[in-house]
């Protein structure tokens, strides 16, 4: 692998932070980004590049194979698979990134508070996080969606709540290790408020592990989200959604295997891309392995 050469760029007007070079030198990040970037771009463009209306049915062309008028073929109602995959990708990415953002919003403050306060506060907060984590993730997601109506906001909320304790744990252990640093002591001595110390002094110094954990969660959030819609508790039809597409495709497997294959590949590539990026970020920012899969 090429070595880090930030010195080359001293002549240029803009100083590129060395971390950017480190990231770009990581093979996993580069592969992951080159997979994810087109997927995100296609999802953002959505309707503007989808060849057909993803909900329009073409009864005469049901179960069409790939090639011809419909590039990837059609489903059991004669809807264009390519268009449905493009817009289904938007749902999946929204789920993945939205749920992770929510998990960060909930988990980071809890982790910062616990790690900085230590003692009893830490013990109680982390014990609660552990207990929430003892409910299998998919079951906790199910529980929430059984009570709330299934729409994308509630699915994002359910997954965000499920993953918040994991973010809190990581934030807390990083906070523990920096909370005795001199700059934190200095801020305390200056009489700064607790929120100031937590968010202005500690947070900027624990972003590494948080970013790593967050990036790993995106892939898992997409998996949980599509699993929930596979079970019929997701964003719901007629919105295209990869999980629901796959679950419907199972019933039409002998008419057209492509209906099952395309969304599976799309899902696999998206999750793999986020996993690669997460692993690459871990190599660069926080070289530790964790044992928890869910």
């Amino acid at each position: 692998m090429a070595t880090n050469n930030s010195t080359q760029n001293e002549s240029s007007r803009f100083e590129v932070p060395p971390i950017v070079w480190k990231l770009l030198n990581n093979r996993r990040i580069v592969i992951g980004m080159s997979l994810l970037a087109p997927i995100v771009l296609v999802a953002i463009l959505g309707e503007t590049i989808a060849p057909y209306d993803p909900t329009a049915t073409h009864v005469a062309d049901r179960y069409a194979g790939p090639g011809g008028k419909f590039i990837l073929g059609t489903d059991h109602l004669g809807r264009d698979l390519l268009s449905r995959i493009i817009l289904g990708g938007r749902t999946s990415l929204l789920l993945g990134f939205g749920a992770t953002a929510l998990a960060l919003t909930l988990g980071v403050p809890i982790g910062l508070t616990a790690g900085y306060a230590k003692g009893r506060v830490d013990e109680v907060l982390m014990r609660i996080m552990d207990i929430i984590m003892s409910v299998p993730t998919l079951l906790l997601g199910l529980l929430i969606l059984v009570v709330l109506p299934s729409n994308i906001i509630n699915v994002v909320m359910a997954i965000g709540v499920v993953y918040a304790p994991r973010i809190a744990r990581v934030t807390r252990s990083a906070t523990l290790s920096v909370s005795e640093e001199e700059y934190v002591m200095a801020a305390k001595a200056r009489g700064e408020s607790r929120p100031y110390i937590l968010f202005r002094e500690i947070l900027p110094n624990v972003t590494g592990p948080i970013v790593v954990e967050g990036s790993v969660r995106v892939g898992y959030a997409i998996m949980i989200g599509t699993s929930l819609s596979f079970l019929g508790l997701g964003t719901g039809p007629p919105n295209p959604d990869w999980g629901f597409m796959i679950s419907t495709a199972r019933e039409h497997i002998y008419q057209t295997p492509w209906f099952l294959i395309w969304p599976s590949i799309a899902l696999l590539l998206t999750v793999m891309a986020t996993n690669l990026i997460g692993d690459g970020l871990r190599d660069v920012l926080d070289p530790r392995e964790t044992g928890d899969l869910s």
Binding site: S227, R250, M272
Partner: protein, 317 residues
């Protein structure tokens, strides 16, 4: 064995069960109109809602309901199914045992396949074999279990490769072979992610171990390479992997919901999905609580076993 540790750890396990029970109670009954909504759906009439509230005893004071529920959880009484009237615990128990068999076979598959592959990959580091298993594990890690299950079902249960039955469950009393034959495919499908994860974990901890000083010493002393790998390396390289296997039990308890649905396997997961379809509230509550309690108990056992193996372990981190 440290008795104080045992007492503290037991107290924490019981507290965990209590809090999880409270959360499940809270989510299913405290949210506005939620219990009735679970039973009737979100668009029900006033009268129907009132009727259901009466049937479920939801018109009683909240505190009474809560105490009743928590006491029920600790005594294994989850009430009766709204659909069949059968005691919920009776329905749950048999299915839990089946699901545990599935989890057991799944773990067994990881142990006999992923761990040796991970060790080999570490031993043959940077060879084609290593690159293949590493990239294979990347794909495995990115396949949600509903996709791997669907694909395995498609390719391995229909001609020309009808190697496995399409689903169902056969009791072990009818023979070990038919029992295993029915369990293997769902166990494998449930496991793709864990397999990949365990493989990676084993590889990375073996790589670390094989680079350590005592392995170098063993090699210098002229210990045969096979013994270096399996006697000296394995013992230390495997510890993190065992932790991973234990932690992922919880993950399995979640993914059975999907796997059992796809393979028509009559276990906990299928029961939960059925209960959600039927809006059978007591069964839903038990379906979420029982696997969680099983997981809490598994963690409790793992911690106790560790503390017996390593007396330095205490509750503080």
């Amino acid at each position: 064995m440290n008795y104080l540790y045992l007492v503290k750890r037991t107290a924490i396990a019981l507290l965990s069960v209590f809090i999880v029970a409270s959360v499940v109670f809270g989510v299913t009954t405290l949210l506005p109109g939620s219990a009735a909504n679970i039973v009737l759906g979100t668009e029900a009439t006033e009268e129907a809602v009132q009727q259901v509230n009466e049937d479920l005893g939801l018109d009683r004071p909240l505190m009474v309901q809560y105490i009743d529920f928590v006491v029920g959880v600790f005594t294994g009484d989850f009430g009766e199914s709204l659909i069949s009237g059968q005691p919920v615990m009776e329905m749950v128990w048999q299915r839990l045992l089946r699901t545990l068999q599935l989890a057991f076979v799944a773990t067994l598959i990881s142990v006999v396949t992923a761990i040796p592959l991970g060790i080999l990959a570490a031993a043959k580091r940077d060879t084609i074999f290593d690159h293949l298993t590493t990239s294979g594990s990347y794909i495995g890690l990115s396949i949600p279990s509903f996709v791997s299950a669907t694909l395995l079902l498609l390719f391995l249960t229909t001609p020309p490769l009808a190697l496995f039955p399409k689903g169902g469950y056969v009791s072990i009393s009818e023979g070990v072979i038919p029992w295993l034959h029915h369990l293997l495919l769902p166990a494998l499908a449930m496991n793709t992610i864990i397999l990949a994860y365990v493989l990676r974990q084993t590889r990375s901890s073996m790589v670390d171990t094989l680079e350590s000083d005592y392995i170098r010493t063993a090699r210098l002393k002229g210990v045969a390479e096979r013994n270096v790998l399996f006697k000296h390396g394995l013992r230390n390289g495997l510890l993190p992997t065992v932790t991973v296997l234990a932690l992922n039990f919880g993950w399995m308890m979640g993914s059975v919901v999907i796997i059992e649905q796809i393979f028509a396997f009559p276990g906990m997961g299928e029961l939960i999905v059925q209960a959600i379809d039927n809006r059978d509230l007591p069964v839903i509550q038990a379906g979420i609580l029982v696997p969680t309690i099983a997981f809490i108990f598994a963690n409790f056992l793992a911690d106790i076993i560790y503390s017996m193996l390593d007396p330095r372990i205490s509750l503080g981190e």
